[in-house]
Amino acid sequence: MKFKNNSFRLDSTDIKILELLQEDARQTYTAIGKRLGIAHSTVYDRVRRMEKYGIIKKYTTLVDTEKAGVKTVTAIMTIYTDPKESEKVAEKLSKIPQVLEVYTSLSEELQIIAKVAAENQESLHEFIATTVAPLQGVLRIKTSIITKKFKETQHLIVNDPKELTPTNSKITNKNEGKSASEK
């Protein structure tokens, strides 16, 4: 972990810590340290720093909605937009709770790709027809309803360490960002 002009570069230890946390964010710093052969205090320092710099954004829970009995329809919308309006459309979509993920993509045409959840197919259509289609700059929409999930992971293999600057240096809650077992 090198510091230079208020920025730092992730090293292989940071990456290994991230990989272990992505595997199980509830494991203790001691357990992580043991697996990596380093002191728990080193793990703690590095985790705190990565939280401060916004590399670790949050600790969350991955719920198996099927087992939880939550009946939802999930769909992927490809929204073709007027290039001048696409940023605004993406921002507006991002504010809607039913929209789970929003991406922009540049292929032949400018597209927004968004994952959306609804109670059933009818409410999905209603939502797209009354909320998404009327947005200024939306040219057309293609929607694919997901029928079966084969894989879902939050893991991101970090193999290209980059120089980073702090994005989230304000930590208001002492417990915020700590794994459950450390609280």
């Binding site: 027809a129 289609a133 929607t143 309803i145």
Partner: protein, 113 residues
């Protein structure tokens, strides 16, 4: 004095109340209509699949009744549903139905002026 109901039925509605043409669940064609006249024009050009999708879901009758506040046209469209039309014959019949209503409303306004 102008006929208020007829004028209402010919109004242009805001963007969020326009009719958006889809071909199936979530698949928006990019065509929309904010008035009865525009609706009639779009019937001519949208994919016939879109007309079938909306007619049999009851979307046309719902929009004409609730947004354009034209229950008469909504009833006429509902009747088309029972005729089990598809493709170009549906397009022609739907267009003729809307065009007839548009002409009736326009004439009523002109004669009351």
């Amino acid at each position: 004095m102008k006929n208020e109901a007829e004028i209402k039925a010919l109004k242009t509605v805001p963007r969020e109340k326009a009719f958006y043409f889809f071909t199936s669940i979530g698949n928006y064609t990019g065509e929309n209509a904010s008035s009865l006249r525009e609706f009639m024009e779009k019937i001519k050009i949208v994919d016939a699949k879109s007309l079938e999708f909306h007619l049999y879901r009851g979307d046309f009758e719902k929009w004409t009744a609730e947004v354009l506040e034209n229950t008469r046209l909504a009833e006429d469209i509902k009747r088309l549903k029972n005729a089990s039309l598809t493709g170009e014959s549906l397009r022609n019949e739907l267009y003729a139905t809307v065009a007839k209503e548009l002409k009736r409303l326009t004439n009523l306004i002109l004669t009351s002026e």
